[in-house]
């Protein structure tokens, strides 16, 4: 067993877990945050994407111990108070989800994508960047629309703030 401490959605947390515990299981089981999902066992589907120190990571592809002392953000940590993150709001506005299972990973990937590209995201880039996230319900069209819309909105907000 290993004691693993980290900052999870802004709160300091710790838990004793088996050495082999993956980050996704630490988040879901040791911390009880079940928004992060497991959809495969080969790090292909992307349902488990979270942010580790500001970067999108498939949380099934690293040990919890590797995230010791890191800043980890999950889908539960995006909304501020009652206000949805613009990417969350855009997924709803554009019907970018159906069964909701891939959605947390999609949203975390999208936030990371927008952080990296800002307002310079076009459909082709978004589709390419989504190669690590599988959705079986939506056919991706409305996910792409949602990400483009959130990117445009966030970039406009940033410009307005500057």
């Amino acid at each position: 067993m290993t004691k693993v401490a980290m900052t999870l959605n802004g709160k300091k947390v710790q838990a004793d877990v088996e050495d082999r515990t993956l980050l996704v299981h630490y988040i879901r089981e040791a911390q009880g945050l079940t928004g992060t999902h497991v959809g495969c066992d080969t790090s292909q589907c992307g349902a488990c994407v979270v942010h580790v120190n500001g970067k999108a990571v498939k949380s099934c592809s690293m040990l919890a111990a590797q995230a010791a002392d890191a800043e980890v953000v999950t889908v539960e940590g995006l909304a501020k108070g009652g206000d949805l993150h613009p990417v969350q709001a855009a997924f709803r506005e554009h019907h970018g989800l159906q069964c909701g299972f891939c959605t947390p990973g999609m949203i975390m990937t999208a936030v990371d994508m927008i952080n990296r590209y800002g307002g310079n995201l076009d459909e082709k880039t978004i589709r390419h960047e989504l190669e690590g996230n599988i959705c079986r319900c939506t056919g991706y069209q409305n996910i792409v629309k949602a990400i483009k819309s959130a990117a445009d909105q966030m970039s406009a907000m940033k410009t307005a703030a500057e």
Partner: protein, 786 residues
């Protein structure tokens, strides 16, 4: 949300919990003292189980129990059933082999479970499952259904000689033979419909909790139809009587058919929870899902189309072999029969059709309904042979189809179905216009100038869904009726709960069902909640599959709303001393026509519950239920056109554009319908270009992970251009047709017809991988050079 009635693009009420990580799926459920199950699975496709030695596993940390098939059988747990009886053409019933949830004697496909470990954690359970020593005696395996029927092939079940499950016919063979004698032209082809794995993103899961004091089981599970699960678990598997068994399907992450069935694992968890005296949880790995979720499709067909001198179709003859895998899954027998051959008339007036279907056991994962279930197989066959015949006789694909369209309704086909309404010209016209069909030649020439091969292909599909009139399906062998139930509970404060037997696993019922109430009573959709997925809350229901939630499930809600409205009007008339016929409902108020007298819906609801002043003899309360049995299938139809560009150097196909013109009848929420079409089209394009469940000759599934089975990703598919045309369905009160499967049904032949057009070679089979397309391009170029 506001008042959002029929036709509104209402945003989804359920989204907030999903986008904030607050969904509640089965794997999110944790109960005190819960143990975890891990299954010991056969690595062989066909083998005798000689011995199972669990001694080492039982010594491992955290291990509670190792249970085997012998114990399951000794406890009287029943075999897994197939719920649809099909008789062969000689009148004999289908040959069904025994399927046990844990197999004690002979395993028949890779991944079949022989034992289960229960331990304190998932990791410990999996470690111990690896330590269970099973001695097998390997038997020869067969994976090809044609080979399986040959004399001397390995035999799976003693009940099925030559592995033949049934040999079934539909249509008038003599009339078809006579018509072929007269044919001016006959088009023949062989078509293979590739095997697919449904791949809902949420893997199957179960949490079973037995309460010894109450002798009561609770099962949380990833089900599309919790009541059907309870019925089968109770009536056939002897888990517990229905009143001692509660099945809850909470948020479910996609189904596509694969979560209809009652699988071994869920049933073993229920049984094991009682045996070990603690709650038991099982969560499927993705590779386990590939090996054990029911697969889809897998048909091999020969088809012949007979035309007269005017290019009118005079007869259609089809022979199909359907691979059902190692066992007969719950609805497996209905898929290649009544859900398939009954659609072979397509959108066309064909006087005579005959189809023979042979279903076969092989050492592969069982096959059952997957999005479309039989109709994609029929549509692929019909639309490929239509395109091929048009090319052979030198007509444009659109003109040949138009020449043969059905134009008067109702239309009785020679294969059972009676089409109630449609306008096939309208959707064909819309699709041709949307894709600028007339401009294709110029686009093809431009692509050729860049060394690329452009092709265009269409598919005019029809399907039958809204499954289905109970008496009709009963007469065809179904073990259940396929009605739906609803209950509308108006609370004393005027808010409403709608209980439905339909189950949402992505379809958005919490929104669309609420729109019906908003429409009827002028209430805010926030005042309505939809209750589903729990056998303790909803009395009964048949669940969601076969695009039935709207046409069947909502129709039941409408019937219950009629009753609520009638009673509310009676109360309002009584309170306002008006005639019942003068009461109108508008904007959440009950008004007396032509006066300023009115009561809010809330006031009427409260009056119903205080019961201080009700009409003489009226019972208190405002709650009504209804059962709705559909009068016919519904028949969505449409035209899909796909334009592709093939790179002959690499064989890679790019979809340049894809247009869909659908007729779904009346639409409750266009946003949700569009989402259904996007998803269906993507699954169909996945089948056409990418997906294939492949076995080696020993029965190993060589595509058992996302590293090997090619799921459509965002950059594999285009943005689709959609339109709808409405012919109302006369068979249900809302005039709706199903929309959930059409995309997956109609799209594969459009893609393949486009590629064969591009490469000028019709020998293409699904999936059209770059390697296959490249090979055919080489052949075409060689032929052109000679």
């Amino acid at each position: 949300m506001g008042v959002e009635g029929i036709g509104a693009r209402a945003l989804r009420k359920e989204d907030k919990r999903f986008i904030t990580g607050k969904g509640r799926y089965t794997d999110d459920i944790v109960l005190p003292r819960m143990g975890y199950a891990a299954f010991v699975r056969s690595p062989h496709a066909h083998a005798k189980v000689v011995s199972i030695d669990a001694r080492a596993a039982l010594e491992m940390p955290g291990v509670d129990a190792v249970l085997t098939g012998d114990q399951l059988v000794a406890d009287g747990i029943g075999n897994i059933i197939c719920g649809w009886m099909i008789h062969s053409k000689d009148g004999s019933p289908m040959n069904m082999g025994a399927w046990r949830a844990l197999e004690p004697e002979i395993v028949r496909h890779v991944g079949q479970a022989v034992a289960v470990v229960i331990a304190d954690s998932q990791g410990e359970a999996k470690d111990a499952a690896d330590a269970v020593v099973v001695e097998y005696e390997e038997l020869p395996a067969v994976v090809d259904p044609i080979a399986a029927m040959a004399d001397g092939a390995p035999q799976l079940h003693p009940e099925a000689a030559n592995n033949l499950i049934f040999d079934w016919d539909i249509g008038d063979e003599a009339a078809v033979n006579a018509a072929f004698e007269q044919a001016a032209h006959v088009t023949k082809m062989e078509v293979h419909n590739n095997r697919l794995v449904p791949n809902a993103m949420e893997p199957r899961a179960a949490v079973a909790d037995y309460n010894e004091a109450e002798e009561h089981h609770t099962l949380y599970t990833t089900s599309q139809n919790p009541h059907v699960a309870r019925l089968v678990l109770s009536a056939f598997y002897n888990i517990a009587p229905e009143h001692k068994l509660r099945v809850i399907a909470p948020d479910v992450g996609g189904g596509f058919g694969s979560k209809i069935y009652i699988y071994p694992e869920e049933m073993v968890c229920l049984w094991a929870s009682k045996r070990v005296g603690r709650p038991v949880k099982w969560v499927c790995d993705r590779t386990e899902a590939f090996l054990t979720d029911a697969h889809g499709r897998d048909h091999r067909s020969e088809a012949e189309l007979a035309l007269d001198a005017d290019n009118k179709i005079i007869a259609f003859r089809v022979k199909t072999v359907a691979n059902l895998g190692a066992y007969m899954s719950l609805f497996s027998s209905s898929v290649p029969t009544y859900l398939y051959a009954t659609l072979l008339s397509g959108q066309y007036d064909i006087p005579a059709i005959h189809c023979n279907v042979k279903t076969v056991y092989t050492n592969t994962t069982p096959v059952d309904a997957y999005r479309g279930a039989g109709r994609p197989e029929a549509t692929y066959l019909v639309e490929r042979i239509m395109e091929t015949a048009a090319r052979e006789v030198g007509l444009s694909p659109a003109d040949f189809r138009r020449k043969n369209f059905i134009r008067s309704f109702p239309h009785q086909t020679p294969v059972i179905m009676c089409y109630d309404a449609g306008d096939y010209d309208a959707t064909l016209d819309a699709a041709l216009k949307a894709i600028d069909y007339d401009g294709f030649a110029a686009r093809k020439a431009e692509a050729a100038s860049r060394g690329k091969l452009r092709g265009i292909g269409m598919s005019c599909y029809i399907e039958a869904c809204g499954i289905a009139p109970s008496a009709a399906v009963g007469s065809l062998g179904a073990g259940v009726g396929l009605w739906e139930s609803a209950e509308v509970r108006v609370n004393p404060v005027g808010t409403i709960e709608v209980l439905t037997g339909a189950h949402s696993h992505g379809q958005g019922h919490e929104t669309t069902f609420a729109q019906l109430i908003s429409e009827r009573f002028g209430l805010d959709t926030d005042a309505v909640s939809i209750v589903h997925g729990d056998t303790d809350k909803v009395q009964f229901g048949m669940g969601t599959y076969g695009s039935r939630s709207g046409a069947v499930g909502m129709s039941a809600v409408v019937k219950a709303l009629d009753k609520v409205e009638e009673k509310a009007k009676k109360i309002a008339a009584h309170l306002m001393e008006a005639a019942e016929g003068d009461i109108q409902i508008e904007g959440g108020e009950l008004k007396v026509a032509g006066t300023d007298k009115k009561l809010t819906f809330t006031e009427v609801a409260l009056a119903a519950y205080t019961a201080h002043n009700l009409p003489e003899g009226m019972e208190p309360g405002l709650k009504e239920g209804a059962f709705y049995d559909p009068t016919n299938f519904t028949f969505p139809s449409g035209t899909y056109i796909c334009e592709v560009e093939v790179d002959p150097e690499t064989g890679k196909t790019a979809i340049i554009s894809f247009v869909a013109a659908d007729d779904f009848g009346n639409i409750i929420n266009p946003m949700i319908v569009e989402g259904q079409v996007h998803g269906g089209l993507t699954q169909g394009i996945g089948q056409a270009l990418l997906e294939n469940a492949a076995y080696d000759e020993n029965g190993q599934l060589i595509t058992a992970s996302y590293m090997d089975y090619c799921m459509p990703r965002a950059d594999d598919v285009p943005s689709y251009q959609l339109s709808t045309h409405v012919t109302e369905c006369p068979g249900n009160p809302l005039g709706m047709k199903g929309c959930g499967e059409a995309g997956a049904i109609g799209s594969p032949p459009a893609v393949i017809n486009a590629i064969t057009d591009a490469i000028n070679n019709n020998d293409l089979t699904m999936p059209a991988t770059p390697e296959q397309v490249w090979q055919l391009c080489q052949g075409s170029m060689k032929m052109a050079a000679e």
